[in-house]
């Protein structure tokens, strides 16, 4: 792993900590207070704040996850050099596109 990838992965990880904590809290709070998924979605729809929140999360996780997949592939598969880079980019873009689509669908 190179310094840049390391840095990006750690920075995205650190930034995700509050986001995921919040996300988990929301889920837990929601199920505790008996809110249905529909009610949650109702609240998030159209909210710029939530759009930014989940948008940022998708961006971070795409970068973080893609670099992570690359690390694991470097150790556990015969992939080397450019093949690793390709895997990282493909995975990252895929995750980002799917995530963006989901955010779009949820927030509207």
């Amino acid at each position: 792993m190179t310094l840049r990838l390391y840095l990006l992965q750690r920075v995205t990880a650190a930034l995700m900590v509050p986001l995921i904590a919040a996300h988990l809290a929301v889920i837990i709070y929601a199920s505790h207070s008996g809110l249905s998924a529909a009610e949650i979605l109702g609240r998030t729809r159209g909210s710029v704040g939530w759009a930014a929140f989940y948008g940022l999360f998708v961006l971070l996780v795409s970068v973080h996850g893609a670099i992570g997949v690359r690390s694991v592939a470097a150790d556990w598969t015969p992939l080397r050099g450019r093949a690793l880079g390709a895997l990282m980019w493909v995975f990252g873009l895929l995750l980002f596109l799917l995530g963006a689509r989901a955010v779009h669908a949820v927030i509207g």
Binding site: A13, A38, V58
Partner: protein, 121 residues
């Protein structure tokens, strides 16, 4: 040559707490990386497919989906605490005992998270 295969010699050090913690972190990350795209995909599909939320609501009630989502939340919690532990080791000054504390924290946090989540969903 790199491969998952062990060499022919016994590798008992792999039973150590820290090694297992590192592997749990890696595997949880990897599983997240596998399931998160599916989660996004399903989420997007489920909502877009219907004009209203009905479909989505119905969809989330399916036991399989419930289980999968629970699993995802669990993985996320485990990987989160494991990740914090790595970040702590890498970035804070090393104090004796800190490592045990960190790993214990992961363990208990993961267990609590698991129980909590399982009870809820």
């Amino acid at each position: 040559m790199s491969s998952l295969a062990q060499n022919q010699h016994n590798a008992a050090y792999r039973g150590d707490l820290f090694w297992i913690a590192a592997m749990i972190h890696r595997i949880s990350g990897l599983l997240l990386a596998c399931f998160l795209p599916l989660h996004f995909l399903a989420l997007g599909l489920a909502i877009e497919g219907e004009a209203t939320f009905d479909g989505f609501l119905k969809w989330t009630q399916q036991p399989l989906v419930k289980l999968a989502e629970t699993g995802l939340v669990f993985l996320l919690a485990v990987h989160l605490f494991g990740g914090i532990r790595v970040l702590v080791i890498e970035n804070l000054a090393w104090r004796p005992g800190q490592k045990r504390m960190a790993s214990l924290a992961v363990g208990t946090a993961a267990v609590i998270a698991a129980i909590f989540i399982l009870r809820l969903l």
